[in-house]
Symmetry: C2
Subunit: 233 residues, 2 copies
C-alpha cells in the first residue's frame, strides 16, 4: 500500500467494475468513503454486494443513499421493461441500450460531489468504462471531463481553487484487463454482483443479460475462473 | 399566452424566484412539468407553497422527489447550524454563505435532466440569479453553461442531437425586476415562501435571514406590497 494521499469518494455499485475501482483508489493511497444508491433497481443484490466489497477492501465508511429514480422511470433497470437477453457482446457498443437510465451517472456523480465537498475530499472515483460500455453516453471520457469542469465551477471547493478530479481508472481497459488488475490488487470477485436481472429469491445471475455476458467473456479472456459463478448458467 | 413550444421541466422550490421562472416558462409557451425536492430542509413550508404555485400557474404535473441530503450534511439548510440573521443585504455577494448546500443545484439539475429525458423534453428552467446570490458558485452563468455542456454529452438526447437547454430567465435580474416581471405575468406572490428559518408551527417567515431580507428589499425597491407579508416582522 502506498502513502495516504487524502480522502476520496468512490462510487460503489457492488459490481465488478466499481469493486476494482475501489481497490485502485486504495492502492493509490486514498482513504476511501464508498457511496452506493438504493434507487429501486431490480438488482438489489448489488447493495448487499456493495456492503461486503466496501468492508473487504477497507473503505473507511460506506453510505447508501435512497433516491427515487422509479418516480421518473424510463429504463429497464427501474421500470417494468424487459432486460434484453442473449445479445452478442459486441453489440453493446453499437447503440444506446434499453438498460440506459437517463442521467444516472450524472445523478450519482452529483451526490458524490456533495459528499466529497462535505468531507473535504477533492477526489471522486467512478468505474466507468468506455470500451465495453461505449453504448452509454455517460461513460465516455468527454462526458467525464465536462462533469469535472462543471463540478469545479459549481462548488465552493472548486471556486476556492481546490481542484476537483473525477478519476476513471478503468476507462480504457477491457473487461479482461479490469479483472486482471483487480486480481493483482486482491479483489475477491466472489463478493461482487453484476447481473441486471438476477433470480428474485436467490440473487443468482441470469447469465444472459449484457452485464452477465460481458462478465463471462471478460473472465474467459483473462483466463481466470469467476469465483462468484456469476454470469454462468 | 403564446403558442405551445414543447415540454419543459421547471425546478420549483415554492419561493419567489422559482414561481416567477415557472410563469416565464408558461409565457414562452411551454407545457411545464414542475419538479420539487423534499431534502430534509428546515423550510418544509416551501413544499406546500410549491404545490400551490404549480397549480396556480398551470403546471401540467408536479413531482416531488425525496432525497436524503441530510445523510450528507454540510449546510445550515439541512444541518443544525444556525441560519445567519440580520446581515446587510449587500454582504450576500461577498462570500459563500453558510446556507450554501454542497452541489445542491447540481443534484437538482441532474434529476431535472433525468426527468426531462424521460418525458422527451429538452428544456429545463431554473430560477438562479447571479446578482442577489452571486455568493453561491452554482448560481453563476459559467456554471450553468458547464452543466448544459455536460448534459448534452451525457444523455441519449444530447448525443442524438436534440440539444438540451438550461434556461435561466432570472439570471441577470435584480430581485425588484424579478418581482415586477412576475406581477406582469400574474404570479400571486402570496402563495410563495422564501424564508430559510420560518416558525416551525405557523410557517411565518423569520424576517431576518438573507432570503427574507432580500425579499423585503426587493418588494420595497419594486414599490409593491408583498402579499404574503413574507419577510416582514
Amino acid at each position: 500500500m502506498s502513502r495516504v494521499t487524502g480522502k476520496a469518494v468512490v462510487l460503489l455499485s457492488g459490481g465488478l467494475d466499481s469493486a476494482t475501482t475501489l481497490a485502485v483508489a486504495r492502492d493509490e493511497g486514498f482513504e476511501c468513503s464508498a457511496l452506493s444508491f438504493d434507487y429501486g433497481q431490480r438488482h438489489r443484490f448489488e447493495l448487499e454486494a456493495a456492503r461486503k466489497v466496501a468492508q473487504a477492501l477497507g473503505a473507511i465508511e460506506h453510505k447508501i443513499i435512497t433516491i427515487d429514480l422509479h418516480a421518473i422511470g424510463g429504463s429497464a433497470l427501474t421500470d417494468d421493461l424487459d432486460v434484453p437477453k442473449d445479445r452478442p457482446v459486441d453489440s453493446a457498443a453499437d447503440e444506446i441500450p434499453i438498460t440506459y437510465v437517463p442521467a444516472r451517472n450524472t445523478i450519482f456523480l452529483s451526490f458524490a460531489l456533495a459528499y466529497a465537498e462535505t468531507i473535504g475530499s477533492k477526489d471522486i472515483f467512478i468505474g466507468v468504462n468506455a470500451i465495453d460500455y461505449s453504448g452509454y453516453p455517460d461513460c465516455r471520457p468527454a462526458y467525464i471531463g465536462a462533469f469535472e469542469e462543471m463540478a469545479n465551477l459549481g462548488t465552493k471547493m472548486g471556486v476556492e481553487g481546490r481542484r476537483i478530479r473525477i478519476h476513471t481508472p478503468l476507462i480504457d481497459l477491457t473487461k479482461a484487463q479490469i479483472i486482471k488488475r483487480g486480481i493483482e490488487l486482491g479483489v475477491d470477485y466472489g463478493l461482487t454482483h453484476s447481473c441486471y436481472d438476477p433470480d428474485p429469491e436467490t440473487g443468482r445471475p441470469c447469465g444472459r443479460c449484457d452485464s452477465c455476458l460481458l462478465r463471462v467473456a471478460g473472465f474467459r479472456e483473462a483466463g481466470i475462473q469467476d469465483p462468484s459463478g456469476g454470469g454462468v448458467v
